[in-house]
């Protein structure tokens, strides 16, 4: 890939001699952006347009081995009456909201603390907080399933025992199941979000802090008036990603229940899509589920992005 980058300039040199017009075209400020985004355009055309349009087509079909039947809005109509689907949407939205509350402010705070000079041995903490996200899901799933097991010796039942409470079936009831889900989410994602913020903090011009200090700002004021506004692009990114990731959560639930939870308490939109499309092989119906998710996520995020002005043209 590095060669790729240098071949730009090498090609450029060869052509410079031969074709001045082409060179000027390629190097002009008007053409450059298109050259930059070309890989995306290519990948979009090759790997997106066809799969995405066939997904849309499939969502209007009943997919059968002997050929597919066109059923119009049948899948969507069925979807609206599907209790499990509606429950899954509820679960996903709930999860998304809770993770927004937990996984944005706290990592931001941790990142700012880590960025300050108050904390010693930063490298170790960063590495330790980040390790969960790089742990294979197979293993962290096994570990958490066992820790939340209904058996006597499971770690969370031991904690209950310590406080004199009987063992409970953690993964069979809504509140405790959500506790488990959120705990896993925090465990896996705190470090990641912290890292986004940390790298965002690095893009802030330190001169701003210096001038704030000259104006006599306290640490907290600097955080509110310098850090937060300057971190806005990163915040918007984390928000957008978290909204989608929350709505599309499946792995955490799969880690605990393997996609078959009692009373569907752990069934999410993508979990349901997986069950329909893959376990029951109803690709048409699953496509409809996926497109509904796309619409929900896109609407929420577009509102958020437009309100935050991310689509506005920057003035220089």
């Amino acid at each position: 890939m590095v060669e790729h980058a240098s071949s730009y300039s090498k090609d450029g040199e060869d052509k410079m001699k031969k074709d001045n017009i082409f060179k000027r075209f390629l190097y002009s400020q008007k053409t450059a952006p298109y050259v930059f985004v070309l890989p995306f355009l290519l990948s979009f055309c090759v790997f997106w347009i066809y799969p995405f349009s066939s997904t849309i087509v499939m969502s209007f079909q009943d997919i059968q081995p002997m050929g597919s039947k066109w059923i119009g809005l049948g899948n969507y109509k069925k979807l609206l009456a599907d209790k499990v689907f509606l429950q899954a949407v509820g679960n996903s939205v709930m999860y998304m909201l809770l993770t927004l509350v937990l996984l944005i402010p706290f990592p931001l705070l941790f990142a700012s603390l880590l960025d300050s000079r108050l904390v010693k041995a930063k490298g170790i903490w960063k590495a330790l907080l980040y390790i969960p996200s790089l742990t294979s899901v197979v293993i962290s799933g096994t570990l958490f399933r066992m820790m939340f097991s209904e058996r006597d010796g499971s770690q969370f039942n031991l904690i209950l025992n310590f406080f004199g409470h009987d063992k409970i079936q953690w993964l069979k009831m809504y509140p405790t199941a959500y506790f488990a889900l959120l705990l896993i989410a925090c465990w896996r994602w705190t470090g990641v979000n912290m890292l986004y913020f940390l790298s965002g903090l690095k893009s802030i011009d330190t001169g701003l802090y210096e001038s704030a200090e000259i104006d006599g700002a306290t640490g907290w004021q600097k955080f509110i008036y310098v850090t937060i506004p300057m971190l806005r692009p990163t915040l918007i990114y984390v928000l957008t990603i978290s909204i989608y990731a929350g709505l599309a959560m499946f792995l955490e639930s799969f880690m605990l229940w393997g996609n078959g939870s009692p009373y569907n308490i752990g069934t999410t939109i993508v979990g349901y899509l997986y069950r329909r499309g893959i376990e029951k092989n109803q690709m048409g119906y699953a496509s409809a589920v996926g497109l509904v998710l796309l619409i929900i996520a896109l609407v929420i995020n577009m509102i958020q992005l437009i309100l935050s002005g991310t689509f506005k043209k920057e003035e220089s």
Binding site: V2, I63, Q64, P65, M66, K78, A81, D82, K83, V84, S149, E150, R151, K172, G260, S261, P262, Y263, N264, R275, I278, E279, K280, N281, M283
Partner: protein, 464 residues
Amino acid sequence: MNKKFLSTLLCTTMVASSLFGCGTNTASNKASAKDKKEEPVVTSFGDKKGTKLELWTFVGQHADFYGKMVEKWNEKNPDRTINMKTTTYPFSDMHTKLTMTLQSKKGAPDICDVEAGQYPNVVKGQDEWLYPLDEAIKPYKDTMVESRLDMYKGQNGKQYGAPFHIGATVMYYNMEQLEKYGITQADVDSVKTWDDYEKLGKRYVEARGEKGKFFTSVDTAGTDWLTIAMAEYGEDWTGGNKKNAKPNVKLKSVNKMLEYQQKLLKEKVAQVSTDGQVDTDGGIADIGNNTIVSFPKALWFMSRFKDKLGADSGKDQTGKWYIAKCPVFEEGQKCSVGIGGTGTVVTKQSKAKKLAADFICFAKMSEDGEKMIWNDLGFDVCNTALWDECNTDQDNFYNKYFRNKPYEVLKQIKDDIGKVSITKNTPAINDQINSTTLNDVLEKGKNVKEALEEAQSTIESDSE
């Protein structure tokens, strides 16, 4: 700094490529040279010059079994030798990949193991996706257990899957533990009905009188008990393997069994199975710890004793357990049913369909194959012609492990093995029963009729 960054990237790439060579880069031709070194990973069996067949499975032991069978096949059929490549995939993902390749009409293997629960998804393709085995099965058909073959038929009546085992349900008893509390083998043998079973359980639990110890356990994440009940009454909640079959869970058998289980729980004869059913880590731990001393399960559960409760587990159960017929609700009913299993299919995309079909039937139905299935995998084989031989085999692990010989029990129940179909309705039924109904009835003590009523309406709306 720019240069330093790039050089770090370059260094990592270089270290990586020197570590790995180009072996993993499939685009390069060097791959084949490297592959030779990794022979243990690519499992290819048989005659290198033979017809190439590809087989997918989700269990390492099955792959080993097929490998041995290929050698045997090649010995017997020098003119039709096979070179088999087997690949073991993760369980659920293998089925995903298989249906995807079938749907795409490209990329499927010649032969594939399909787990019974996933079978409806695959068999719905019938001739479009699969190659029928009816021709290849002929030499063995007369002595095969009919009800098991039926499980793997398409709606058009053609045979698409070859079974490993019957999966006949039996009742397992921890005799050593029962004897401690004065229950003899004769007592166990005299259990004919579920009422008898309940009485025996009460007797044991009262004699033991220990909190947290039970006679048996009932499942909230498995339908085995209910399937047994259906077989007894000859009912089938899927409506059978027919085109317009309607699912119906409001059956007499299901109702009776659930109410019976509620009674067992109330009397503290039974607990709710740890982790939802017996065939889980928690369930097996309960068996090893004598938390429960009896449970109904298919004969293939024997292999769990070998793998998880064998000599090196610290919970060795050798010589403790006794296998008996399952009780019935009314005397004279069928007392067993085939559950679980793996149907092996030949795909239509195979370039050597006939060879693949002949091989699969040889591996899974011939004398050589069945013996190996019994000795290596511990299954109750479908070919009844071999039962006597299996029974007398003194070296067999299971014949030594249990107090009685498994095939003795099998011979007793031979004509009493019922059938509950696995059809396109099954996933919807299982979803609802496992996620909601069983929890409602067994954990929360909900009225059985109401719970089934609710289940029925959900399942109907799901399977439209």
